[in-house]
Each structure stands twice: as C-alpha cells, then as structure tokens.
C-alpha cells in the first residue's frame, strides 16, 4: 500500500522525523491480518472540505484512500463549513461537483441546518441528484425532534438521513424516537454506532428496520450488541481512517459470531440497499 499513513500525509509527518517505514508496516500488518471476505466495500461516512476545526479532505484524497483499501465508494457530505449563508450552499455544491466527477464512487448527501431556511438548498440538492441528508445536532445546535420537518421533506424524496450520534451527543434514544414518530417513513443512519448514548439507543431502537448504525469511530462493545443487519461500515474521514475502521468491523464479526453473509452486509450490502 502507498499513500497516506494512518490517514495522514507522509509529507507532513516527515518533518517530525516520524518512522514512516515502521508506521507503514504496522498499518499493513493490521489490515493484512483481518481476514475479511471478498466483497464490495462501501464507506457510509466521509466528510469533504475543510472543517472549522482544521480537519480537511479533498475528493481526490478520499478517492485515493478508497483505492488504497479496496473500497468501491463512499457516502460523502460537507465538513462543518456552513459558510456565509449558514446553510452549507457552497460546501454542498462542492460535494455535488466532486460526486458528479467520481463516476459514481462518491454518493453525495446534503448537509443542512434545520434551524435555518432550508427549502432552497434542499431543492438545489434534489435537482442535482443528491441521495441523502446529513444532520449534525451538536455542530448546528438543535435537538433531533426539531429537525422533523426537514427529515419529513428528505423522506418524501426517498432519502436516508444520517445523524451524528457520537461524542458530545446528549441523550439520544428518546429524541430519536420522537423524531421517528414525527417523520413517518423516515430512515435514519445513526453515526458512530450511536456511541454518545449507545446503551439506551440500542435497547430502544436496535431492532427497528428504519434505523441503521454506522460503525465510524464507534466502540466495539457497542457494535457487538447490534444486529449486523442494522450496521454499515463507516470511517469518518478525515477524523478517522480506513485501517482501524476495517479492523473494528472484523473484530466485531469475530466477537459476535457473524456469518460471512452478515459480515458482507456490514461491509457494504446493508448500505447499498438503503441507497438503491
């Protein structure tokens, strides 16, 4: 494998005197030892652009990452860069353009703030062939039930809705249940295995067919308590990276005793069914 090391540019690591050969060997050994089955790999969670916190990833960079680890494609959406309009217009447009140039490998989701006027940006996304909605209750400071109108509109378009449910999340199980009740027919992808409130969320929502959990930067003890049919692999580039994302799913499969078909579903099939 060549390219980034543990998600980072070797050119940035060199000035530190980082042992790049050793880092490359550790990463290669990790991935080579996973024993994953041949299947079409899809990443449910990738950010493009430059986040306010400094994390950045270009479409070319993401495609190089996908190539390196043998992924067919990824769902991608803007980083937290709402722009002057507060509604991610420029960032969403850049994601759409990147997706259009990717030959189908990058599946664009539209990122919106439900607390701002969203009709125009949603219409632009629909016209441009966007396939889903991304919401971040922490970054955009809203409670999940307050996004019900936007989630209903996305559901009317046939879109799944991916919601941040990781670090920083407040109690989630009740608010997500309320959101689902207010947006009948909605399909939610709870990011990060809902690790922000995993015990309650899995207990109350883990068996629902309208909820998927992405595995990006999730916790292994949480994932092994979720039925594999309800999981989809994610890496959360550029916050996470693909080596440990694959390791996490491989370990969950071994610990929980998933069969090969269940594992293939987590690695791509479950997500593809929702994107169809």
């Amino acid at each position: 494998m060549s390219g980034r090391l543990w998600g980072e540019d070797p050119g940035l690591l060199a000035p530190l005197g980082a042992p790049t050969d050793e880092l490359a060997a550790l990463e290669r050994d990790l991935v080579d030892g996973l024993g994953l089955p041949e299947t079409e790999l899809w990443d449910a969670h990738a950010h493009l652009g430059r986040d306010a916190d400094g994390h950045a990833l270009t479409a070319d960079g993401l495609l190089a990452d996908l190539d390196r680890f043998g992924f067919a494609g990824a769902v991608c959406f803007p980083a937290n860069e709402p722009g002057a309009d507060g509604q991610f217009a420029d960032a969403n447009r850049r994601v759409r353009e990147a997706a259009a140039a990717s030959g189908g490998r990058l599946v664009p989701f539209c990122r919106l703030d439900p607390g701002m006027p969203w009709d125009g940006e949603l219409a632009a996304a629909r016209e441009a062939g966007v396939r889903g909605l991304k919401l971040h209750p922490i970054a955009q400071r809203f409670r999940p039930p307050d996004a019900a109108a936007l989630v209903r509109a996305a559901t009317d378009l046939g879109w799944p809705v991916l919601i941040h449910a990781g670090y920083g999340a407040r109690p989630l199980a009740g608010p997500i249940q309320t959101l689902l009740a207010r947006a009948p027919g909605a399909r939610l992808i709870l990011a990060h295995g809902a690790r922000g409130d995993a015990r309650a969320v899995v207990e109350r929502l883990g068996d629902r067919d309208d909820v998927l959990f992405d595995t990006s930067l999730a916790a292994l003890p949480d994932l092994v308590g979720i039925r594999p049919e309800r999981l989809c692999l994610g890496a959360d580039r550029p916050y996470g990276e693909h080596a440990t994302a694959l390791q996490l799913v491989a370990l969950a499969a071994r610990v929980a005793g998933w069969d090969a078909d269940q594992l293939r579903g987590v690695l791509g099939g479950n997500l593809l069914r929702w994107l169809a």
């Binding site: 530190l16 880092l23 550790l26 292994l220 003890p221 370990l251």
Partner: protein, 95 residues
C-alpha cells in the same frame, strides 16, 4: 493478552485518547506509561509507535505536522484499544 492486561491497557489508552483530543501535554507521559503496559503484548508495537509519535510532536513541530502526528498517534491507539477490547469481549486470549 490476559483479561487483566487488557483491562489495564484499555484504561490507560482511554486516558491517552482524551489527553490527545484536548492536546494536553500529559498525553506524552500517559502514552509512555501505556507503552510500558503494552510491552510484550500483541498491541505493544502499536502503542510504542503512538508513544514515539507523541514525543515527536511535543517539541517545536510545525502546527500542521504536529496535528498530523497527533492523528497518527490517535489511530495507533484506536487500533490497540480495539484489539484489547476484543480480548475482553471474548475473542482469543486466556481468561
């Protein structure tokens, strides 16, 4: 890795993770301690490399390079934590 060794390592690395996220200078010493806890165990090389990265970013490293180095250390720790958690959850290893 025994379960006791895995518990020790997971606890140590959880502290390291928060320290790195908060860019707390205690991350370096905590990682060095975690590396000693991991010595001779299967995640040992991962934690040792993370500790080395923490030392490299501790000086006058350019901000972009330090950020990249910190992310690499976090990823190495993540790999080690996941391996240790798998032992605790019943994959491989003596009880």
């Amino acid at each position: 890795m025994t379960r006791a060794e895995a518990v020790r390592l997971v606890a140590a690395l959880a502290q390291c993770e928060i320290a790195m996220v908060r860019r707390d200078p205690v991350a370096g010493p905590l990682l060095a301690q975690a590396a000693r806890a991991a010595e001779g165990l299967s995640p040992g090389p991962l934690v040792a490399a993370a500790a080395r990265m923490a030392r490299l970013i501790g000086g006058d490293a350019p901000p972009e390079a330090a950020a990249a180095g910190r992310k690499v250390a976090q990823a190495l720790c993540r790999a080690a934590v996941q391996e240790a958690q798998a032992v605790l959850l019943g994959e491989d290893g003596p009880r």
